[in-house]
């Protein structure tokens, strides 16, 4: 094979001058089908959504009025918007912080030589491949008021049952917890790969210099893990801000709007409240928030990478 390639190389080299004169064609027809699909199903609707955000369309009637920036005014003065944004940020940031801290700790542990650590890794990673909707239901069995596993424990201990999922103080945190439980395996695997790429020489040199484990972690492990931290942060922020399925499964956004995220709120506005124009406005706002936060995270951590 390689011999063939080498021989061909010679042939190519001989013919090279002649071929240089011709400008390379773009072969645009090869990506046209993909472009059409992406344009029709993402780009056009997205641009159309920006347009709809300036209307009072209800989602089904043939006609609607242009209302200028009224929907935007409404959005910024609507207290629900800020509640929903607060929740969305909590889901995005809360799960990101938890997944990264716990994921890193798991990776550090599994980077040791422990017997049967493959089983631990499998169990931690398994939820990643399960639908977030099913994951939500699985945890519902744990937190449910009637016959939930948590209340079984409380009853056993002689305590009162709690309705955790209907409590607006707790249920947002339960959603963060479930999302963390489900995707902590991804962070763990990325950190494990990062840890394994760090040369052992650094640690040996540090040990000779008498550095403590904590110092080694701070001065060797953490800086060299920065690329993995960037990936994890950006990935988790985007995932957390878009959270939808888990919320539907656990609380449906309730009670009231208490645990609603921007995604579920948009869904409600469109399908349950026939307020499509306003749903589009919320959609534009959500895209802006995700864009700003993920770019900010990317730039911030990339800069750290360079310093390291």
């Amino acid at each position: 094979m390689s011999e063939l390639v080498a021989r061909r190389k010679v042939a190519v080299a001989k013919k090279a001058p002649k071929r240089k004169e011709k400008k390379p064609s773009s072969l645009w027809w090869m990506y046209t089908p993909s472009l059409v699909i992406v344009f029709l199903f993402i780009l056009y609707p997205f641009l159309n959504g920006i347009q709809l955000s300036f209307t009072n369309w209800n989602g089904f009637s043939q006609s609607y009025d242009w209302v200028g920036i009224d929907q935007y005014k409404r959005m910024f003065t609507d207290p629900t918007t800020w509640l929903v944004v607060k929740n969305t940020l909590l889901y995005g940031m809360g799960s990101t912080i938890l997944q990264n801290i716990i994921g890193l700790l798991y990776a550090l542990l599994l980077n040791q030589s422990i017997r049967m650590k493959a089983i631990t890794r499998t169990v931690i990673y398994l939820p990643v491949i399960i639908s977030p909707l099913i994951m939500g239901y699985i945890w519902y069995f744990f937190f449910a008021y009637q016959g939930g596993a948590l209340n079984d424990v409380l009853l056993f201990l002689g305590l009162d049952k709690i309705n955790a999922l209907a409590n607006p103080e707790w249920n947002t945190w339960i959603i963060v917890f479930v999302n963390t439980y489900q995707y902590v395996g991804v962070a763990m695997i990325i950190y494990l790969a990062g840890l394994q790429s760090i040369s052992k020489d650094y640690y040996e040199a540090a040990q000779i210099d008498g550095a403590s484990s904590l110092q080694q972690f701070k001065n060797i492990t953490l800086p060299l893990l920065m690329p993995s931290i960037t990936i994890n942060m950006v990935l988790n922020i985007i995932g957390g801000l878009k959270l939808f399925d888990v919320i539907i499964a656990l609380t449906g956004g309730g009670p009231g709007n208490a645990s609603q995220s921007m995604s579920t709120f948009m869904y409600d506005l469109y399908f349950k409240r026939q307020d499509a124009g306003y749903a589009a406005t919320q959609g534009v706002f959500m895209a802006v928030i995700i864009l700003i936060l993920s770019l900010a995270a990317l730039v911030y951590f990339r800069r750290k990478e360079v310093e390291a």
Partner: protein, 276 residues
């Protein structure tokens, strides 16, 4: 090995076992719930004294789960095939021919990755109704293909640039092969590793998709697994045993695949995560 080293090792092993057990809890509860007979109101933590498979057969019948399995499988399979064929074909010129036009479209594909699909939902719904595509396989397939196309192109283009020697294609060209011929006979077979990753990423996410399916597949004959399950849950919120059985059955195919092909799953899914 010193004494403290041994102690440390034991501590780590203990910790690993503890973490494993904590992570298993929800699955354990799912299984005990699903296996308990209707009248069995014992604690969820206790394994049922008498195992009952009633819940499974009843849930299977009530949810029409068989039909949903087929729908999910069809949508996942066709989406994955389209993604791989069209995506690899699109990535090839974008990776190889650095013309102005191609640079622009590559940038466009990558920029689209940032748009959250849900924000395009309201107008997309309109469009789908206008096309008469509501409740069809096509809409689910094209939606999923569109959602994963930018990532697919990004991964293929990166792989082609970094690992496929240009000389190979040039040699074939001299032999008079057509562009498409060169691509499918020479380049595509070399893309196997990244194709495997893309296959796993797209299959896992499309199989588990709920957001698109709930909007565009509202007719019960077209329901996918997640939609059937969500409806079933909504109607039987108090019959936890039945819902647990249905949930267990719907997560089984992917779980079995994962346990057998774990290495490929983890590698594939991590390949997708470099998109940040």
């Amino acid at each position: 090995m010193t004494y403290t080293d041994k102690k440390k090792k034991r501590l780590f092993a203990g910790l690993a076992i503890f973490i494993t057990l904590v992570h298993i809890i929800p699955f354990y509860i799912l299984i005990t719930t699903a296996l308990k007979a209707k009248g069995d109101f014992s604690s969820k933590w206790v394994f049922p004294k008498q195992i009952s498979f009633e819940n499974f057969s009843e849930a299977w019948k009530l949810t029409n789960l068989g039909n949903s399995f087929i729908n999910s499988a069809i949508i996942t399979l066709f989406s994955a095939v389209l993604l791989i064929v069209l995506g690899s074909m699109a990535a090839y010129p974008l990776a190889r021919r650095q013309t102005k036009l191609n640079k622009f479209f590559y940038f466009l594909f990558i920029a689209i990755m940032i748009i959250p699909p849900l924000t395009a939902l309201v107008p997309l719904y309109n469009l789908v109704v206008d096309f008469g595509m509501m409740n069809t396989y096509e809409v689910a397939i094209f939606n999923n293909v569109a959602a994963f196309m930018p990532l697919t192109i990004f991964l293929y283009a990166g792989f082609i640039r970094s690992t496929i020697p240009k000389e190979l294609e040039e040699a074939a060209k001299i032999d008079g092969a057509s562009t498409l011929g060169i691509f499918f006979r020479i380049v595509f077979p070399l893309l196997k590793p990244i194709t495997a990753s893309i296959l796993i990423i797209s299959c896992v996410y499309i199989w588990n998709d709920y957001q698109f399916a709930i909007f565009f597949l509202q007719d019960s004959a077209m329901h996918t697994l997640t939609v059937s399950l969500a409806n079933f849950f909504g109607a039987n919120q108090n019959k936890l045993n039945l819902v647990a059985a249905a949930a267990l059955m719907s997560m089984l195919p992917m779980t079995i695949l994962f346990l057998f092909l774990q290495k490929y799953f983890i590698k594939g899914l991590s390949a997708g995560s470099v998109k940040g």
